[in-house]
């Protein structure tokens, strides 16, 4: 079993794990973490598919998936921060309306 295939399978496992937890949990923070794990599984699939050894054993990596994943990581952390902002804001608003002068 080659290294590329091994890490590809690991990426699929991470994706499915994240998907399962994201669909079944009820805590928002954990759902955000699960979606991040899903994204990391997809990234791992990309990078593992870019990992190839040539005939003489020298490492050849495909730069295009690397560039795509680099873009994806930065967008993922940015989206995570936005989701965290929204969750915190929702939490503060709902707790204020629970306590508020009503």
């Amino acid at each position: 079993m080659s290294t590329s295939l091994l890490f590809s399978l690991c990426g699929i496992a991470l994706f499915l794990l994240g998907l399962y937890v994201a669909l079944t949990t009820s805590a928002m923070l954990r759902r955000i973490l699960a979606i991040n794990i899903m994204g990391n599984g997809v990234f791992m699939l990309f990078i593992a598919s870019a990992y190839q050894r040539g005939e003489d054993g020298v490492l050849i990596t495909d730069p295009v998936p690397h560039a795509l994943v680099l873009t994806g990581i930065v967008v993922a952390v940015s989206a995570t921060a936005l989701a965290l902002t929204l969750v915190c804001r929702l939490h503060e608003l709902s707790s204020a309306s629970h306590e508020g002068p009503e």
Partner: protein, 101 residues
């Protein structure tokens, strides 16, 4: 021998991710998630992608941890925060600790 390293790496990655998503305490979950980011950076280094490993190390070590801990602090229902006027003891809809299993 390098195969053993790969297997250990994958084992660690999957166990960290699984524990991070299933453990009850949210703080432990966050700490495990930060550690998962570190192992993922190791995996990128192993797979010959140093560009992505640098990005993952920078974001995982510098930003994600701070972001998640800040959000965890803001979602705490019990800890009194002087900066906001609301102090509630009851669990809220998006509360951090109402994980059901």
């Amino acid at each position: 021998m390098m195969h053993l390293f790969d297997l250990l790496l994958i084992l660690g990655l999957l166990s960290f991710a699984t524990l991070s998503l299933t453990v009850r305490d949210v703080f432990t979950s966050i700490v495990l998630f930060i550690s998962t980011g570190l192992i993922i950076a190791l995996t990128w280094a192993r797979l010959g992608a140093p560009d992505i490993a640098i990005a993952e190390a920078a974001i995982g070590a510098g930003l994600t941890g701070a972001l998640l801990l800040a959000a965890w602090r803001r979602l705490q229902p019990a800890v009194t925060d002087q900066r906001t006027h609301c102090r509630n003891g009851s669990s809220s809809p998006t509360g951090a600790d109402d994980e059901r299993h």
